[in-house]
Symmetry: D2
Subunit: 424 residues, 4 copies
């Protein structure tokens, strides 16, 4: 963990400038009729879950280039998550991936509590074969043609529910790699029916206070078709399963040019929006750091969420899902959490009464300008002040670097060497 | 109309070669256990509707370059449709567009009967302002913020129902240009609710034996968002409206890379596939001639349709929707109808028992090869024989050119000069 | 023209708040080692040309919905451009389109001088047929198979050079719609050779102090292939023509997902970047207002331009090219010019020494953060102060609205009614 | 190796039907003025190189699912390549990848000769770290900021030249993963200059009768920008390097919707087309089996190649580059080679005189129909007869399966278990 004294020393050095910037911004916002402290409180209430697997260096099918001090166990990963939350105060929950993170539940809870962390949605894995696994997922899992393979995949998901209950999770996210690489390889209709049938068995095992998230993706690892290819199929699935089944939107899982904020709006209309996997992308499921490629898109999504936040029953699970290939994962997760938080705060600055007026009058220019005015407000002083008051760091990356954390854990964690990806 | 003697002369010259090719193909197919005559009968039963507007030269926002003998009235257009059906025997119905095709219903019926034609789905138009129109559709129609504008658009659709009933149509296709060019211009949720509410009023006026087709499109003429942007929204709309509301798929209305045959399969699962607007595209809604850009994609869509053709309740409306900018529209519509027919016949040649076996065994290579074997069968002799036996032309384009039809109508139809498109 | 007193009244009301915000921002920037006045001077030096045709309401192939007070002549358009420049002080040049803007050159110059305007690049038009034109461009212009059609298109471009010389322009932009709608329609190699040959004739007529801009576009109005489809072909063309031939980049003319800032960097390397057509887009050549869809992309392009601004020989022509379908074109052009200016100023705030250091050390996270820190700086006070000091409006849109300009010109300009686009 | 007697037995059973189909097709083609035997000879002369790495099961970043009898060494791979060529007679050369295929050159040559195989282009690998490698390629190789890393990557490429010379290769293909995951991570201009400088050093070491292939790719493994992102950059690189540097086109390395056959035409114009990496794709660099997703696109590319085949100096290197994730790689490579061969033969059937006439007259409909008529000719009897006469199998997949080859090698090759990809 980062020593409190390091955080304080860093914060102290930045405090005066922050206070000045906060005051200037507060003055500006008050002229717009906005109370900066109320916005700051909103920033403090913001949280997004961190994926355990995101703490390790990611890779591509071509290669993986690990860094120093890679976490070797889920307990190492929880330590890293503790650092992330400690400095940003924005990531109080961790999302586990089974079987990668399998461990004694009481040990998991103890380690999490040590860092003030809780557990978010469970993630099952039926897109890889594990050592000793009886049936291969090479040709699918929940939608496989063989009943025994489907049963094995269902069983694995039920086990995730079991583990999750022991650690306080309340949701299961199901993402499968099932699909086809060739036209004709799978009968699309029957494949989907098998998938639905398997999902119904999982749903049947879902505790009453849990939710089941269906996650769509247009392609990869299957390159001709995927079983849950878009939000339409995800919606249809959630409708057939029942009220506890909801749709989860990963920002990188769409066709080029697709208007994601519109999908968000439609799923809200359908009463089926369950949550997000945040990341950014330029081409496909690039899994880049949130807010680094198209920050305005992230803002527009939050614009829909803030607009709808009083919708009865809307209860969203926000998670990060990224692959950190060329950065220190702790740094990327901290920055990403803060970029998502930034977008949520900017969206809260939208003058909604004015916007509604412009929309009613079809004043497209001023409506658009109203959104941009909120977006271009530099809310960094608000985010920093919220962190400071919550016990975090004004500048989490600088503080993290000053702490020498990575070098320290590198001493005890096993060294990992570079490796090829999945291609050969 | 094309003189019978011209058709016969052309057919006679081609007959012997056709007979030889038909026999050779029949021999080959019989070795695969396929009866060529049964396939030929299927080809004869095939039909696709022709859009009245497709008989005129189309254009882009930059320009339109009309040809000689452009049809000036709906009656000219029906004459052209008569030629198309006369030569191909594959297009027995015409789809009208209101108000472009407004005329005395009994005159319409008389002219259609003269050519042995019937009427397919009606198409309403609320994406343009007509002379004398009270409320502009500049900012939307069925989803407009102003109740009076919505009422006008609803009224127009109800009028389409009325006209359609008088000429024997059984369906209304609703495609709107409503959307937004700027983030913020429209409140996406409320805009969709207004659209739904309008559609419900139209649905309420729908005769019992009619169907209402909801057509989605990702963009154009709106360039940031459209109200019915994809099949997910179209499905949700059809679900909310009721059993007579179905989804219509235009092949050019999707995001890049989207797997359209999969959408077809999903809509069949949902019991909501209503029909198609056929065309081809490389970039956006290019409205190119069917089968000229990605013929295998067209085949894969038909593969799904043939596979599901015994599904209870599946009753599809097949229509062409293209823009013929650089060809004689009559020629393009004939060729397009035959390309769609070709794909349907090739799909009927798929060895479905073998395919199902390969799918069950996850023999992806042979499953894929099974589809390709059907696709690469040159079924031209089957199509030509079906046309010949039905009284059409073995080679419709050559026969049409030999007839001098276009030059003849150019004498009586008013000359139209080139014009700019919508940009200035 | 907008009365000076209206501008002053509006500015006076905003002055104190602006001064306060400018001071607060100056304080913040000085802590980063940035002199706000130097940045303000840069903002004042910024300029972008306005397209004459952009002052009229644009449309799509489906429809065009004109507004009140549409400019009827090039002189009306120059009046509108005068308003735009008068309020923003950022658009001192107008780009003409021939034959749309053909008029007596001395009248053009007189009207422009009245508004303190000059003329930017000339634009030729061989994508439409004009009344009385001998050869049609339906099947191409500079690359047409018929020598006479090519000669006519060349002649038109030479005429543009002639007109341009009389009004003080120094560049010709050539964009053609030539291409094909069907595979096979054109022989791609020979079509390009014909294009090159025509361009060489135009180049031969280019005055010594002029430049010829080659503009690429992936599709539309041709939907299978276009002759100058991408920057690779544009570069090859400019290389074959000679040193006065340069490449022009329109932001909406690329395939989905393409990294435009990288093309900018490559063309700078090649010594062939000539200028830009600014606009924004989500799907295709949407021609939306600059900076309204992906503002960070606009910033990243300017990041390349600011980085390379000391490159010997780099002399860029910046123009807006948009279609204003749902807004008052004057408002859209003002806002767009300011958004482009904003991006240029934000890019000037990038700490390039720090960035270079992070790049050398492969500190991807901090390099990326360095760009974002500049981007999220709200430079509105700088832009507004620059306008104020240059005699423009602090808030151009509000001032324009207060002036009642549109209503006034609507009294004298002919009323235009809505019309269909190019489809039928 | 597959026993001759197995091939003969399979061929004998198919011979009579093949002869009948060949005769019928010959009859049909002769009516078009085409000599089937001349086309068959062309089919026999066709060849495409096989990638050594393609004989192993591929994977994605999520997982790899190996099959039975995976090749463990380059000698196993050459055995598999021998089977592929033995049955198809279309793949007489193998392309090696260094360091994966490093071995004693004389052993390599001996094994290749055993199978009647030669060696095609060498492939270097600077996108992965190898055990013991001094400098990591995590942040680039030939364009790395550190001179020592670049020197190491250059040295590796020079070693590839050395190995290649010993085994009779005549070309080096350079594909690098260098790029960036974040805006700002790399200075795009300087990064490209470093790349060019490294390439010049490699080029300096190129033997006189060798060629250097530059291969572009829009993204992956870098997800924001890649150094050689498109054919424009590849062309510029080849121009700067010199006459032995050529551009290589991988069909899956482009932005969505890009017209690849047009790039082929442009590179032919520039005198810089060097060769291909064949595969098929629907979304990104999917590396699917050639001809299985968009067979008409493959045909259109071959249409350009056949059209230009008499261009002086045009000498193309055809290679397959695919990832076989769900099929037996030997089967996929056989089928892919035959699909590429099929497209080349179909393209040879295009009536070029008629096509040129239609193009000159702008008869788009008939020009397009001329291409489709060639494409839909089922040339399978030609391909099969060419194989038969060359000593191959009429039906390579059936013969391969009948031979039991995979089961046999599985007995001696080490078993490999499933594994995760690069993500964790």
């Amino acid at each position: 963990m980062i020593d409190r004294s390091i955080i304080s020393a860093q914060n102290d050095a930045l405090h005066d400038d922050l206070a000045r910037d906060y005051t200037a911004l507060g003055d500006k916002l008050s002229r717009r009729g906005v109370d900066i402290d109320a916005i700051k409180d909103r920033a403090r209430r913001f949280s997004v879950a961190v994926p355990s697997w995101g703490t390790g260096t990611g890779g591509t099918r071509f290669a993986r280039f690990p860094g120093n001090g890679e976490p070797a166990t889920i307990f190492d990963k929880l330590d890293d998550c503790g650092v992330i939350h400690g400095l940003t105060r924005a990531t109080p929950r961790v999302s586990l991936h089974i079987p990668w993170d399998k461990a004694d539940p009481s040990d998991l809870r103890a380690k999490a509590e040590e860092h003030g962390l809780g557990f978010d949605a469970m993630n099952s894995n039926t897109f890889q074969d594990q050592p000793g696994q009886v049936h291969s997922y090479k040709f699918g899992s929940l939608s496989h043609t063989a009943p025994a393979t489907r049963a094995q995949a269902i069983e694995h998901n039920l086990e995730c529910l079991e583990i999750g209950q022991k650690i306080g999770s309340k949701a299961l996210t199901v993402w499968i790699g099932d699909g086809a690489n060739f036209p004709g390889q799978s009968h699309m209709g029957r494949q989907y029916e098998r998938y639905l049938s398997s999902m119904k068995e999982i749903y049947a095992g879902l505790p009453d206070d849990w939710r089941l998230f269906s996650e769509h993706k247009i392609y990869e690892p299957a390159f001709y078709s995927t079983v849950v290819q878009d939000w339409g199929t995800s919606l249809m699935t959630a409708q057939e399963l029942g009220p506890k089944a909801m749709c989860l939107v990963d920002l990188g899982h769409h066709a080029p040019n697709v208007n994601i904020e519109m999908i968000v709006s439609r799923l809200i209309h359908a009463g089926k929006l369950g949550g997000f996997h945040f990341n950014d992308s330029k081409y496909g499921d690039d899994d880049l750091d949130s807010g680094t490629i198209e920050p305005y898109r992230l803002f527009l999504i939050w614009n829909e969420l803030v607009d709808a936040e009083d919708t009865p029953g809307l209860d969203l699970a926000h998670m990060i899902d990224q692959s950190h290939n060329v950065t220190d994962p702790i740094e990327s997760l901290m920055v990403s959490a803060m970029e998502i938080q930034r977008a949520s705060v900017q969206a809260a600055l939208v003058d909604r009464a004015a916007l509604a007026g412009y929309q009613d009058e079809n004043d497209a220019l001023m409506a658009s300008a109203t959104l941009r005015a909120a977006f271009r407000t530099d809310v960094e002083p608000i985010l920093a002040m919220a962190r400071l008051e919550a016990g975090g760091a004004v500048d989490p990356v600088a503080t993290y670097r000053a702490s020498g954390y990575r070098a320290k854990v590198a001493e005890s964690r096993p060294k990992v060497s570079g490796a090829g990806g999945g291609i050969v």
